[in-house]
């Protein structure tokens, strides 16, 4: 409709710029895995597939993807203690493990908090994969699982240790070299473990009391390493809306501490340049900070009204995905902080990961070296995804945050004096 000169337009229709070709997975509280793809230079992301049946006892609490060229694998941890390994191309279940360590314990009481699929150990053999899991009570374990199309999985090797005896773990991260892992939680200071020796190499110390003498209890809600090469610097977000930078080589107290709005920091993700971090909090605000100076670069404005549970940065394209309790998956442009698109996904989302090996160019599969191994890919004529390597890096560096989604009540924060 025409607008009269000088009058405000009645509706403000902002055309969202389209999205570069991406493929992302989202995981929600009903245990569904949804595949969202966007094709073409300025496409609109759409849900192309949905795996699983809606069942809230199968709520997905953590997910991890290894999207290498050969044998990509998606690992998913569910609320009841099951871990499933899926094929990211078509959602086929490779193997399902019931990973509760002590069968006498109720699985509901110790739901998983974290799951990480190791990439480096998969290059050798495509038949097995290694997973790091962590429960809310602090039980961490590394297991190697046989991925065979057959039914059962054998847990070949199994190392486990207690990360923290007291307190709940609520966040974890494995670094880029996959030798170290961070754990933190409610009442648990962030600590770094060496995964080969299963020993704790560093623990953080709480910052000194502020000038008012107010002590806020330790409660870390999200952590991430700052860059994939350096395990010494990492960023942690707290329940008290603070974002803290720690440097192991410097000191045990945080090197820098930033305050961001008023709700807990539910997700942090780092950018590849090692200087920028993306922070998402409990009321849906997403912002990027320059971690060298501590300056807020800007907020991502886009009508996000629900807590952000997970942020994923695409390793190559400058896009960021965020998902959360408002049931939308939002794709943002990193540089301009503009919303590229939002996909409504109907359930509370707990995690999202990118599949970086996705291109939508149609090329005959004979160009790929992998057709000898994965014959089934050639038959995927109906699945228009040709899994070509988009980049030379064989270890597709994935950044994902998976948050614990639990229907239990979190313990109450200790009262402030």
């Amino acid at each position: 409709e025409k607008n009269k000169a000088g009058t405000m337009p009645r509706t403000i229709a902002v055309e969202s710029p389209g999205c570069p070709p991406i493929r992302a997975f989202t995981f929600d509280v009903l245990g569904l895995v949804k595949v969202i793809e966007s094709r073409g230079k300025q496409g609109t992301p759409k849900v192309v597939d949905r795996w699983g049946e809606p069942d809230s006892s199968k709520c997905i609490v953590a997910a991890s993807i290894d999207d290498c060229k050969f044998h990509p694998l998606l690992a998913v941890a569910r609320k009841g203690g099951q871990i499933e390994l899926l094929n990211p191309l078509n959602g086929d279940l490779h193997v399902a493990i019931n990973a509760v360590d002590n069968p006498a314990m109720e699985p509901q009481e110790h739901p998983f908090v974290g799951l990480h699929l190791f990439k480096k150990l998969r290059m050798d053999s495509c038949r097995s994969c290694t997973l790091l899991t962590c429960t809310g009570k602090g039980q961490a374990s590394i297991r190697t699982v046989e991925v065979s199309p057959a039914d059962s999985a054998s847990l070949a090797s199994h190392k486990s240790w207690i990360v923290s005896a007291a307190g709940d773990i609520s966040c974890y991260k494995v670094d880029g070299s996959e030798n170290y892992a961070l754990f933190g939680g409610k009442g648990v200071e962030v600590n770094i473990w060496d995964l080969d020796q299963c020993s704790k190499i560093w623990t953080a110390k709480p910052p000194p009391k502020n000038s008012l003498g107010i002590f806020s209890p330790t409660w870390f809600t999200s952590v991430t390493f700052l860059s994939k090469d350096d395990h010494r610097k990492f960023v942690a977000g707290t329940n008290n809306h603070q974002v803290r930078l720690y440097d192991i080589s410097a000191q045990r107290r945080p090197v820098m501490s930033l305050d961001f709005r008023e709700t807990p920091i539910k997700a942090v993700a780092e950018d590849e340049d090692g200087n920028t971090i993306y922070v998402g909090n409990g009321s849906g605000d997403l912002a990027s900070f320059d971690i060298r100076t501590g300056k807020l670069l800007g907020c991502f404005i886009g009508k996000c009204s629900g807590s952000i549970r997970s942020i994923a940065r695409h390793p190559e394209l400058p896009v960021l995905a965020s998902c959360g309790l408002d049931s939308y998956l939002r794709i943002w442009d990193v540089k301009s902080r503009q919303l590229l698109s939002a996909v409504f996904l109907k359930q509370h989302l707990t995690a999202t990961v990118f599949d970086s090996n996705f291109t939508d160019e149609v090329n005959p599969p004979s160009n790929e070296e992998q057709d000898a191994i994965e014959i089934q890919r050639d038959e995927e004529a109906m699945v228009p995804v040709k899994r070509k390597k988009a980049s030379k890096d064989s270890e597709g560096h994935k950044k994902q945050k998976a948050k614990k989604k639990s229907k239990k009540i979190k313990g109450h924060v200790a009262e402030e004096p």
Binding site: T263, S305, L325, K346
Partner: protein
Amino acid sequence: MGGKRKGRESKGLEGEEDNMADGGYRSSNSNSGHGNVDSNAKRQLLPSMIKNKEKRSAVHAKLKHQKKLEKRKKIKARDAAEKRALELGEEPPSRKIPRTIENTRELDETICKPDDDELFAGNDADEFSSILKQEQTPKVLITTCRFNSTRGPAFITELLSVIPNAHYYKRGTFDLKKIVEYAKKRDFTSLIVVHTNRREPDGLIIIGLPDGPTAHFKLSRLVLRKDIKNHGNPTSHEPELVLNNFTTRLGHRIARLLQSLFRVEPNFRGRRVVTFHNQRDFIFFRHHRYIFETKEVKQADLEGEVAKVSKAEKKSQEKTIVRLQQFGFPPATRPKYGIVEVLMWQKDGLQSALIGQEKHQFQMPNKECGPRFTLKLISLQHGTFDSKGGEYEWVHKPEMDTSRRRFFFERRGL
């Protein structure tokens, strides 16, 4: 004069680059090259560009007067044309439909669709399903904020009479989190906190227990029972519940939250109805007692988008809310779980309703009893009340209000 020109150039609404070259004087061919056809006069002199307030208001008044005259002329012409057409026996020219916010509502993709199995699974899995499946009886704890006020206690007594199985406890100086703990121990299913400000109740916090969501509403336009003319007195029967227009996913969730305050009682006894009507994101609460008079039965197809779906009725389990009104059926034909969508709500009572597949019209004088108020959702928090550490499922942000036609709880589907 130059100032006005520059002002318009900077607006750039129509991309008037051709005017930039004009420099400082008006050009009369500003209309060229544009699709908009406006009168030259309006283009050249916008009232908002005149800096002098008196002159500006004079020009604006003149403009408005002109518009009014034009409109009157148009209406006269239209009426004359209609009259002529009727006299000649032809069809009168059709009237244009006025553009209202309701017809130009922005499409919301989060509408609940009737065939959405994820919706039903989500409903099963959410915090209210045990109450709504009649496995648990709701038990409501009502309390206030720390400082109570003039109208607060009266409102609370009325709420106690509206909501069955509600208990009032004085607030004291307990922390809300402690109250939540206490309520959980005593097996309450919901907690309502009435918040007062300036001696008037102005906020309502509904917390589902044990770990249900927390909805924070703004309460306004409260009218107590004694202030309503000809009010009726509520009985102690279980009220029937009418939830109108909660069509989006968020609205659906709120509707279930409100439903979980009341007991699910499919066999309606007593003719008492509590209505939550959602319109443009405001939830209107009314409480009536009704009596039946006449009834006619009309057959009509199920049209539009029905909030509580008839397909749900066909499903074997009773998954959805389904406590809705019945109108004037003799007991033999009374459906066990009626699904009603209220089509028209009028001041003197509901005039028509869609029950199952049939549309019924009836006369229903009723008496309003109980309080009358309006709610607006400020935020919906996941988990119980936790102002510092809580995470929100929905919180209103000013950046969401970019359009006057976008609302979050409902979308007119009809």
